[in-house]
């Protein structure tokens, strides 16, 4: 991989992370698509890095951890809720530590532009005990990614680079300085550090706390602890994108941006507080910094509770500074998104609506089935929950209601978290049976048409193994597995659902039709793969003849 350097580039935060990962010698990038993180791995792959989609975030972080155990630098990307899925890995990876740099990108979504919650993943750094970096724009995304690998190796700890929607998707100027690259991987046995039986884990916990204590000392004077001194009347302590809003909202204020936001550089913070007459902590999301700094006995003020909700912006930061509690003007509602014209999900939700089904839904484009004119979704919580929440409903509802319950899951979500739900379905079947609809449109449509283990193509759209959903369901013990084309228009979809509901048994209906936006590209990928195969066969025959 050639390093890519240039004087000046206009990049999104996601692109900047990818470029820095390439220039820092990352050997493996893995993750699961999720807005606003998706473009990082796509860009890393396009730049020539080894990038791959994992079936889910837990798998991705495990694969990344293995690479880091081997001494390689690994980049693992996901949206904020993905870290919940990967949390099992994260908490114990903090104990084991790493040899090669392991950088976990947590792309948070305050304001929920495209998410089911606005959890603040700064909490994870504290809960798991790992170092956290928070860039405020694309230049910092580049710089902090490079620094993140070095810091991870220096302390032998995973590092979380926490971004937010406005950092991931905003474009700003990057001057990509050269970065120190990682060492070549080699296996060095270290059983007490990497085999977490209790006898090894007890000292590992103490080691972790020692590492964090050293990281806190490092944070005091590191390049990511950024003080911009201006006036003495007002000082603002902040992190991430809020540092940019604060600079605009208060041109005369001094600002301390905690680029390394965990563990806290408490002495640098204390000095900053002492250097100004009034010190405000302005943070997007949960009151984390303010709580910790008040506990440290510092004379600081926070924001009022209303500013915990949604994104901050320049106007809201001005209000926090002024203590302005007046009503904020609401932007008029825009046109909501909707399922595309010609989308294969449309007939499915029309049918479920007309059949008055109770629909346990899931995460993807098809969540839009909740909106009029369909209004055909009753629950949507997290990846994979359609199957299992549907089972819970079936278990306890009265017979007449239970038999109307249907679970609806997309193809990528099925690969992500559907298989364990399917195991639950065959192992603990409700008395009324259950009906699972897998809406297979051949792509991770919602996040912008990424591949997954059920499409038969890898991240760069080349040929790979394809998991056959029908065979998986049958192998797990499902007797009724049918496949329909939801766009056939011949009543086969309605008939399949009616039959499945009436059977009182477990049934899976695979409604298969390529996403109307992805279909032309899928045809191109398949054609390219076929041509490649043909060329390889021709080369093989030629070799045999030679």
């Amino acid at each position: 991989m050639a390093k890519i350097l240039s004087e000046r580039m206009l990049l999104s935060g996601d692109e900047a992370v990818a470029l820095a990962a390439l220039n820092a010698g990352v050997l493996l990038g893995t993750g699961y698509p999720g807005t606003p993180s998706t473009e990082i791995l796509e860009a890393f792959g396009q730049l020539g890095g080894k990038a791959q989609w994992a079936p889910n975030e837990k798998v991705a972080l495990e694969v990344g951890l293995g690479a880091a155990f081997a001494g390689a630098r690994a980049l693992v990307t996901m949206k904020h809720v993905g870290v919940n899925v990967a949390a099992d890995v994260l908490f114990t990876a903090a104990y084991t530590g790493v040899t090669g740099g392991l950088l976990l990108i947590s792309a948070d979504d305050p304001g929920m532009a495209s998410s089911q919650n606005e959890q603040d993943n700064r909490n994870y750094a504290r809960a798991a005990g790992v170092i956290m970096l928070e860039p405020a724009d694309s230049q910092q995304a580049y710089d902090f990614t490079g620094a993140g690998f070095a810091i991870s190796e220096q302390f032998g700890l995973p590092v979380i680079l926490r971004m937010t929607t406005r950092v991931c998707h905003s474009k700003s100027i990057v001057v990509p300085h050269p970065l120190v690259r990682g060492a070549a991987p080699t296996f060095k046995r270290d059983i007490p550090a990497r085999v977490m039986i209790p006898a090894h884990a007890r000292p590992a916990h103490r080691r972790l706390r020692d590492k964090l204590a050293r990281a806190a000392v490092f944070a005091e004077s590191c390049a990511q602890t950024l003080v911009e001194p201006r006036g003495k009347a007002l000082g603002i302590i902040t992190s991430g994108i809020t540092a940019m809003h604060a600079r605009d909202a208060a041109p005369d204020a001094s600002i301390l941006q905690l680029g390394l936001s965990y563990p806290l550089p408490i002495n640098a913070i204390r000095d900053f507080v002492a250097s100004v007459e009034r010190c405000l902590v302005i943070e997007e999301g949960d009151p984390i910094l303010v709580t910790e700094l008040l506990a440290a006995g510092l004379k600081i003020e926070g924001k009022s509770e209303r500013f915990r909700f949604g994104e901050l912006n320049v106007d809201r930061v001005r209000r926090i500074i002024a203590g302005d509690e007046s009503e904020e003007a609401k932007a008029p509602p825009g046109k909501p998104p909707m399922l595309c014209e010609g989308c294969s999900h449309r007939p499915v939700f029309e049918t479920l609506r007309d059949m008055n089904c109770i629909v346990a839904g899931d995460i993807g484009c098809y969540t839009l089935g909740v909106l009029p004119p369909f209004s055909a979704m009753d629950t949507c919580v997290c990846m994979g929950a359609s199957i299992t929440v549907g089972l819970g409903l079936r278990h306890v509802l009265p017979f007449e209601e239970a038999k109307r319950v249907v679970s609806v899951i997309g193809d990528s979500t099925f690969v992500h978290s559907g298989l364990t739900g399917l195991a639950e379905m065959v192992y603990n079947p409700p008395a009324t049976g259950h009906v699972l609809l897998i809406l297979d449109n051949g792509t991770t449509a919602m996040t912008g048409q990424q591949e997954h283990a059920g499409t038969g193509r890898d991240l760069m759209h080349g040929a790979s193994h394809k998991i056959n959903f029908e065979e998986v369901c049958r192998a797990m013990g499902l007797k009724q597995v049918v496949t329909v084309d939801p766009m056939a228009g011949d009543g086969s979809l309605e008939a399949a659902i009616t039959t499945a509901l009436a059977s009182g048994e477990l049934a899976v209906i695979v409604a298969r039709r390529p996403c109307i936006l992805a279909a032309p590209k899928i045809r191109q990928y398949d054609k390219a793969a076929a041509e490649k195969l043909l060329a390889r066969n021709a080369a093989c025959s030629a070799a045999v003849v030679d």
Binding site: R8, L10, T35, P36, A113, S114, D137, T165, R166, H169, S170, K171, S172, I173, I241, M244, H245, R247, D248, P251, N313, V314, D315, A329, A331, P332, P333, G334, K335, P336, P337, M338, L339, C340, C365, L368, M446, T447, G448
Partner: protein
Amino acid sequence: MSEQKVVNVVVAGLGGQGVVKASDILADVAFRAGLDVKKSEIHGMSQRGGSVASDVRFGPRVNSPMITRGEADCLIVVAPDQMDVNRHVLKPGGVLVSPEALANVPGKLQAKSINVALLGVLSTHLDLPVEIWEEAIKANLAEKHHKLNLEAFAQGRAAAAQQA
């Protein structure tokens, strides 16, 4: 203070209308002109035909990538029905650029290059060289679309000149 010289432009419309493409081109023009620039919009759900608005800010130094309500110097609205949703971003006396501005456009204008035609109108209100606009249009679009969009851009400029 340098931050006060920042120019704020909002491009608004519906998913699929080239709102993001238009703001990419504008940001690239500022970038090529040697200015600091930041651009921000919300992806994700908005791609499914919903409202999209993209903020572009440029000047000697840009901090926040987002434009504060009532502080946009210019607002481009690609979809007429998105006017009321976005009007509040414009500062008093700010420049509104809507498809109405193309009513007297010379020659025929293709629907899919309305976004670039509106950039043509916008360009007459900004102090950025025309050659850089043309470079940025070419850099952000596939070669087969260059001719059509350069024409649309010129038509937008001509329409603005007529109205002036």
